[in-house]
Symmetry: none
Subunit: 140 residues, 4 copies
Amino acid sequence: MDIRDAMIHFRLDGRSGVPPYRQLVDQVRQAVSLGLLQPGDQLPPVREVVRQITINPNTVHRAYRDLESQGIVEGRTGSGTFVLALPAPTTTPQRQSELHQDFMTWLKAARAAGMDDEAIVALVGFAMRSENVSNQSVTP
Amino acid sequence: MDIRDAMIHFRLDGRSGVPPYRQLVDQVRQAVSLGLLQPGDQLPPVREVVRQITINPNTVHRAYRDLESQGIVEGRTGSGTFVLALPAPTTTPQRQSELHQDFMTWLKAARAAGMDDEAIVALVGFAMRSENVSNQSVTP
Amino acid sequence: MDIRDAMIHFRLDGRSGVPPYRQLVDQVRQAVSLGLLQPGDQLPPVREVVRQITINPNTVHRAYRDLESQGIVEGRTGSGTFVLALPAPTTTPQRQSELHQDFMTWLKAARAAGMDDEAIVALVGFAMRSENVSNQSVTP
Amino acid sequence: MDIRDAMIHFRLDGRSGVPPYRQLVDQVRQAVSLGLLQPGDQLPPVREVVRQITINPNTVHRAYRDLESQGIVEGRTGSGTFVLALPAPTTTPQRQSELHQDFMTWLKAARAAGMDDEAIVALVGFAMRSENVSNQSVTP
DNA sequence: GTGGTCTAGACCACG
DNA sequence: GTGGTCTAGACCACA
C-alpha cells in the first residue's frame, strides 16, 4: 500500500485549539517531511481548499504565504502554489515505509485494546515527552 | 517501570501553535486518561506551576478553570485543585503498559532511522488521520 | 406589552457581592430562560458592552466564554457571539406573560406599602427559601 | 402562619457566585429587614453555624464582624452576638404579612405553571430591573 | 470590525 | 498558604 497521494487533502480540527491557518501549514510541512508531497507538486488552489473544508479564503492564503516565507513552497502568479524542496530527508523512503507499517500495526493493537483516539494520542504524547527536551506538536 | 508519578509536571511547547493554557489542559486530560492522575490527586498549585515553567499565573488559572468546567478537576479555595474522576478507563493498566512498551520500542527504531521528532509526529499524525473521521490533537 | 427587546442590555450591581462576570452570565441565562433571547440572536460585542457599562473587556469576554462552555452561546471569531439554544422552555409564553403581569402588580403594591428594593428582595428570597431545598441566586 | 422563627437558620448556595461570608451577612440583614430578627435576638453561635452548614468558623466570624461594623448586631464577649436595631421599618408587620401571603400565592401559581426556580428568579430579576435604576441582589 | 490569548500586577476570600 | 477576580494594555487570528 502506497501512502503517497496525488494531492494533499486538508482537514481541520476545530477542537484542537490550533489556529486553522497553522493546521494547514503543519499539514503541508508534515506531508513534505514524509515525502507525500515532493518538489514540483502543486498545492490545491485556494478555491479548492475552500470547497473541501469550511474556511475563509484569506485564511488559506495566509497559510500559503507562511509556507512561502518558510521556503517550502513557491507561489507562481497565474499558475498556482508549488512545493519547492524537501526540508531534509530524515530517512530513506523504504525505512520510512517499514516504520509506517509497524506503526499501523501498533495502532490497530491499541485500538483493539479499546483505546480511543484521545487515549492513544495521550500515550504517544507522553511517551515522546518522557525522553525529550524538545517539544513537538502533532495533529493526527 | 512505573510511569506514574506523584505529581504532574507540565511542559510547554512554544513552537506548536497550541495556546499554553490549552497545552496544560491537554496534559492534565491525558494524564487522567492514562491513569497517571487519579481521583483525589492534587494538581500543582498555580504558584508552583509558575515556578516550574515560565508562565503567567492567570494562564495557569485559566487552564484549571477550564478543567473544572469540564468536570475533570475541582478547585477548593484555600486547599488546592484536585482530580475528580476518571472519564472512563479505555483499557486495562496492564495492556496499556504493554502498548506503552511497544510504542517506546517503535519510537527508538524511528529515531535510529534518523527521523526527528517533527518527522515522527508527521508520520503518527498522518497514520491516525488516514483511518479516522475524527480529528485528535496531540502534543508529545 | 412585549417585554422582548432587540438586544440584551446589561446592568451591573456593584453592591450585590456577585462578581461582575457572573452578573453578565446570569443575565444572559435569564434572558434566554425567559425567551428574551432566542437561538441565533447575537450578544452585544465585547467592545459594545464595554461602551455601555464600565467594565474591562476581559471580564466581558470571561462571561461570554463561560456561557460558551455552558453550551448557551457560541463565539464565532470575526462575526460575534450568538445564542445557541433554549435550555428548555419551562412554561408557555402566554402563561409567563400573565405571571409577569401579576408579579408587576404585586411589586407595585409592595412598593406602595413602603418597601424598598432590599426589603422586597428579602421577602422574595425568604419566601423561595422557605419551601425549597435548592438555592437560587437572583439579581433583580 | 407566622413566618417569624426563633433563630435564624443559614443556608449557603455554592453555585451563586456570592462569597459565603456575604451570603450570611445578606441573610441576617434581610431577616432583620423583614422583622424575622428583632432587637435583642441572638444570632446562632459560630459553632452552631458550623454544625448547620459546611463552613469555616473564621468565615462565620468574618460575617459577624461585618454585621457588627454595619451596626446591625453587637458581639458581647462571653455571651454571644445580638441584633441591635432595625435599620428602619419599611412597612407595618400586618401589611408585610399580607404581601408575603400574596407573594406565596403568586409563587405557587408560577410553579404550577411549570417554572423552575431559575426561571422564577429570572422573571423577578428582570421585573425589578425593568423599573429601577438601583440594583438589588437577592438570594432566595 | 469580530473573538481570543497572554502578561503584569493588584486585591479579595478562604483555611 | 490556597484559589478567584479584576484592571490595563498588548498582540494575534479571522471575516
